[in-house]
Amino acid sequence: MAQSAKPKWTELAPGAAIVEPASARQNRTGDWRSQRPVWEHEKCIRCGVCVAFCPEGCVHFGQQQEGLPSADLEYCKGCGICAHECPTACISMVEEEE
């Protein structure tokens, strides 16, 4: 099951059990997002509020640029909490086009 995000019925563990710890990381759960957060890094004071408030734990420093926060879009659901909580309002929610 670990090898494929979409296993055949023969590849399921009995009772659809998940037999490999932390395998949820393989499930790209960000694909139903309708908006994405975009940082205006010039205004960012690197306080980490967006990192702390992200309910998915997918906002981290240094993913895209050294010392700056961004969202891992493979897991970000586009909830907008980071944008709402940012004290400098440097995060805007942008419509996903595709």
């Binding site: 995000a5 019925w9 009995p14 009772g15 659809a16």
Partner: protein, 391 residues
């Protein structure tokens, strides 16, 4: 060694669970299943069965406990009936979908309303699609034997599914019959220790019963359907092995004087015993009548039943439940569907009998065979017949 003793069927079932060394019994008492659970609590309290007895607050909790304990690899038993089974319904699906080899005795009883504590098959017919192996016993010996067998089959690693053993409330639960009671050695030789396919283990963590997103769910249902259908082979194998150990043979479909029969009657459960007497009487009169006793209800024994019904001029099917708003009773509906599209299918006449504990005397069977005789002579099958109904 086996000992011949007189025993109430419920006590025989409880003793069988004791001989199987169940680790956990979680159950809630409900008429007419109560004596099974009462006796098991005594066996545990008296130190004769080393098991955790969990006196839960409802059947919903009973099956929930069973799922939890079976998931840890404990041999788990419960029993229920009627409203209790209905209350359990939600978790009954979960037990099978999670492949947990629980054994449950169902003392078949009518469903409310009106309130009825008496026997029919309304409770189990509402559980047809829960994905369990479902089998029927006709007498005390069968109930005892099939309980022992049920653990063996459920825990077979090719199967790893829960098993329901059905037997008729009051007609069997409260009847004392002579039984051959095996000893612990015999049962242990037949039933090896439970080696679960997978289990909850802190050293090797797994998640059982996770969310099945739309990308996964259809595959899980198909896998469940396949494993239950494929259980048919292990079912016949383990029944044969039971016969080698205990000398008593059981089959998914059993017959009585059916080989050359032109008129066949299909029964499920204890009524088969009365029906055999009527078949004998009619045979003495030279009538070619026979009986088909459908023992295995899930997985449905399509091929075995087709072989048996082939050649009959007319088939009567007894139902002990009503599919309200449906075509015929649930058993007749299944048998009709199973034969649809076959090169030839005998006419199938449906009899609905014994609802809510209404007695089914031999006269009722005489009436059914009379009606089947009329169809064999060219009469119409017509609507399902509610035998003995005051109209």
């Amino acid at each position: 060694m086996e000992k011949r003793i007189g025993l109430e069927t419920s006590i025989a079932v409880a003793e069988a669970v004791g001989l199987c060394d169940a680790d956990v019994v979680a159950a809630y008492p409900i008429t007419p299943q109560t004596h099974i659970v009462e006796h098991l609590s005594e066996l545990v309290a008296d130190g004769k069965l080393e098991a955790a007895f969990v006196p839960v607050e409802s059947e919903h909790s009973a099956m929930s406990v069973c799922c939890g304990t079976a998931a840890t690899g404990a041999r788990t038993f419960t029993a229920t009936s009627s409203q209790g089974l209905a209350l359990m319904h939600e978790i009954v699906f979960i037990a099978s979908a999670m492949r947990l080899p629980i054994v449950m005795t169902v003392a078949n009883r009518a469903l409310s309303a009106p309130i009825s504590i008496w026997n029919d098959h309304s409770d189990i017919m509402a559980e047809r699609d829960v994905g369990w192996v479902q089998i029927f016993a006709e007498n005390a010996q069968e109930a005892l034997d099939l309980t022992i067998w049920a653990f063996r089959l459920a825990e077979d690693r090719r199967v790893s599914l829960p098993v329901m053993v059905n037997f008729d409330g009051f007609i069997l639960t409260h009847t004392i019959e002579p039984v051959l009671m095996p000893d612990r050695e015999m049962v242990q030789a037949f039933l090896p220790p439970f080696q679960p396919l997978q289990r909850l283990d802190v050293d090797n963590p797994i998640t059982m019963g996770p969310v099945g997103i739309p990308d996964i769910y259809p595959e899980t249902r198909y896998a469940h359907q396949q494993v239950l259908a494929a259980a048919y082979g292990p079912i016949t194998e383990t029944l044969e092995e039971f016969a080698r150990h205990f000398g008593r043979s059981y089959y998914p479909v059993e017959t009585y004087r059916a080989d050359d029969a032109e008129i066949l009657l299909v029964t499920m459960g204890a009524l088969g015993q009365t029906a055999m007497e009527v078949v004998d009487a009619r045979r003495r009169r030279g009538e070619k009548v026979g009986l088909v006793r459908l023992r295995l209800w899930r997985p449905f024994p399509f091929a075995a039943l087709a072989r048996v019904l082939d050649g009959a001029r007319v088939v009567g099917v007894i139902d002990r439940a009503v599919s309200v708003g449906g075509p015929v009773g649930p058993v007749a509906s299944e048998i009709k569907a199973a034969g649809y599209g076959a090169s030839r299918q005998p006419p199938i006449m449906n009899f609905i009998v014994g609802l809510g504990g209404r007695d089914v005397p031999t006269d009722d069977f005489e009436l059914m065979f009379d009606r089947l005789g009329q169809v064999a002579a060219g009469g119409r099958v017509g609507e399902p017949v509610f035998v003995g109904l005051r109209e």
